[in-house]
Structures are given as structure tokens and as C-alpha cells.
Symmetry: C2
DNA sequence: GTCTATATGTTGATAGAC
DNA sequence: GTCTATCAACATATAGAC
């Protein structure tokens, strides 16, 4: 790989981190190039459409990274409940002071949905992919497609909402409670589903 | 009420709306005074500490407004499930294009938690008050305090997360699904709680 | 491809006349 | 209390030498 592509990757990874933590508007291009150590000229060379293009590619990068991690994590457990417990453990192991990987997209999505169709669609696309991964896991555990879809959306909305509390409270406590409740509720729901399945047989 | 206080209120209400929709960094003081119709001199007369003070008071205003509405809504139903169904109906009746009252705080909280302790605490305080209102409603419906706390956090995190989807997707569909699932899960949990209570008697 | 210098606009904030 | 003029600092973006 040429030296140029290395510069592009450096800019992109720095931008991803900063956009996730500080948001779109609070992150200046000057800060990005300064922290990446790359020359400013390179930024507009690799991202000629400027900030919006850079943010779009940063979102896609974040999505790819998260999707890969999620798939990898889920491949280690057959049962969806075990997989989610593992996933939640991962979420909770992050220190709120340094990591905010729980909400890689919430902030930039809330900031930009009304002003940039390009960024909104990038976020939407990212959410859809991540949710589908979880949905597939429910289906693998014999959940009916309809219930799998519903629960996947539910779990993701709780993670997003719970992550907001983590940062606002600067504490993991509420997310811990939330994850515990989710697992409990999923188990309740799974019992109901299996009972229904037995009755249908 | 003097004319001055009227100017202050006008600035504050305009600021609240803009901060909620566009966020903290995307909303300039110039835009606020322009849309409020008030003179710029008034802004620094009433909010001498500038943007941060204005945002803090805007958050508190939003919190008071939301808390009052929630209390009013909940007072109309004795049962917490009926109350929540009514609340969700209210949430879903908002058009995503014009209203974003579902997430009055998520955006500004995610934007500012790491850079302003004053704003973070204002958001935290707001969340706590709203969650306690819901918790009280669960307790009124004979939920044990521990379970009431857990479920209140859970419901709010789902609403926050679900609202992110509403805006990102520009559609109510996912929030509808989420609300439906929440109600269903609460009913399941309530059955379990009542069974436990009967066993203890 | 890299880097500097700069153009152009907007931000939050202030000073001072009225 | 109101309003104007203005500040310095920041933003995104560009032009052109090397």
C-alpha cells in the first residue's frame, strides 16, 4: 500500500474518533489534520468534497468496524441470549471517560439528519446493517422472523438510549441495570415463544 | 410582567427549540436573536454568562415543560400500562418533520457531556426527574421499588433510542414497533410480579 | 502528493452611544 | 434596556509554489 493511502487512512480514523466523541459540528477540520499528523493539503486531496464527504466515509468506516466486531462476537455463541450477554459485557467494559463506542452513531445522526441527506442515509444504512446482524442471530435461535425483527430493534434502541445515560451520568450503573433487564425480558419472551411453538406442534 | 421579562422568555423559548432540533454547536446566538425577534443587546443583558448559561436555562425549561406534561398525562390514568400507552400514543402522534420533542435532551447531552460540567449536570438532573415520575407511576401500580426503578430506566432508554431511529429513518415505524414491544414486555413482567406477590401472601 | 498562505464567512463576545 | 459597530478567533475551503 502506498504512502498516500496510509495518509488517507490516518485522516479517516482520526476523523471517526473525533466525530464520535465530539460530534460533527464541534469537530473542525483543523483539529482532524492536527491530530492525525497529516498535512492539510492531503485532506482536500483525498476528500475533495470536504467535511461532508469525510464524515460520510467516517460513518461507513465505523459501521464496518462495528459490524465486523458484532459478527465476530456472535459467532462465538450459538444461543442468542449467551451472545447478547457477551455483547453487553463488552459494552460495559468500556470506561465512559475514554470510550464511547457504545454510541458510535447516535450523536452524528441526531446532529445531521435534518441538514444532510447524505449523512442521514449513511447513518440509516449503518443502523440497518447492525440491526440485521442481531435479527439474524435471533432467527438462528428459532425466533420467528417477526419477533426477531421487533426484538432486534428493541435491543438496539435500549443500547443507544442506555449509552446516552452512561455519558450523561458518567457512570455505567444505569446501562448495567438496563442490560440486566433486557436479558430478563428476552428470557421471558423466549419462554412464551417456545410455549407457543409447542402448542402449535 | 414587564416587557423585559417578555424578551427574556422569547429568547429562552427560541433557544430551547433550536438547541433541541439543531444541537448546541450548530445553533448560533445570532440565529437565536434573529428568530426570536429580540435585540442582540438583550441576550447578554439577560444571560451575561453567554451561550452556556442560555443553554443551561433552556434545558431546565425543557425539563420543566416535559415533567409537567408527563405528570398531567399520567394523572389521567391510574394503571401504569394504560398511562404508558397514552404516553406512547402522544409520542407517535408527533410528525418527525416538525417535532422532535421525543428527544429534547439526547442531542445536547451527547454534544456537551464531555466539555461542560454545567450542561451535563443540567441534562442529568432533567433525566432523573423525568425517570422518577415514571418510577412513581410503577410504584403506584404496586410494582416493587427495585423493579419500578429498573423498568423506568428501561422505558426511557428505549424511548430515547427509538427517537433516534425516528429521526434517522424519518419514519415512525420503528418507534411504533418499539412501543408495542415495550408494552408487551411490561405486561409479561407484571404478570410475573403479581404471581410472585401471590406466592408470598 | 505535500505544504503554506490565504480567502471568506461565521462564531461568541464586548464596548459604548442612546 | 436597546441597539450598532466591532472584535478576535474560529470555521471551511482554495490557490499556487514546490
Amino acid at each position: 500500500m502506498s504512502r498516500n493511502q496510509e495518509s488517507k487512512m490516518k485522516i479517516l480514523s482520526t476523523a471517526s474518533t473525533l466525530f464520535q466523541k465530539q460530534g460533527y459540528h464541534a469537530t473542525g477540520l483543523n483539529q482532524i489534520i492536527k491530530e492525525s499528523g497529516c498535512p492539510k493539503g492531503s485532506l482536500y486531496y483525498y476528500f475533495p468534497e470536504g467535511k461532508e464527504q469525510l464524515a460520510t466515509e467516517a460513518i461507513n468506516r465505523t459501521k464496518d468496524f462495528a459490524a465486523q466486531e458484532l459478527r465476530n462476537l456472535f459467532s462465538q455463541h450459538d444461543d442468542v441470549i449467551k451472545a447478547l450477554e457477551c455483547f453487553f459485557g463488552q459494552c460495559l467494559s468500556f470506561n465512559p471517560k475514554i470510550a464511547h463506542d457504545g454510541i458510535p452513531l447516535a450523536l452524528i445522526s441526531l446532529e445531521t439528519w435534518h441538514m444532510s441527506e447524505q449523512l442521514r442515509l449513511a447513518c440509516k444504512n449503518a443502523y440497518e446493517e447492525l440491526i440485521m446482524i442481531l435479527r439474524e442471530k435471533f432467527i438462528q435461535s428459532n425466533w420467528p422472523p417477526e419477533e426477531a425483527t421487533e426484538m432486534a430493534y428493541l435491543v438496539f434502541s435500549m443500547i443507544e438510549g442506555g449509552s446516552i445515560f452512561v455519558l450523561t451520568y458518567k457512570s455505567n450503573e444505569s446501562l448495567k441495570r438496563i442490560c440486566k433487564s433486557i436479558i430478563e425480558l428476552i428470557k421471558l419472551k423466549q419462554k412464551e415463544i417456545r410455549r407457543k411453538l409447542r402448542n402449535e406442534l
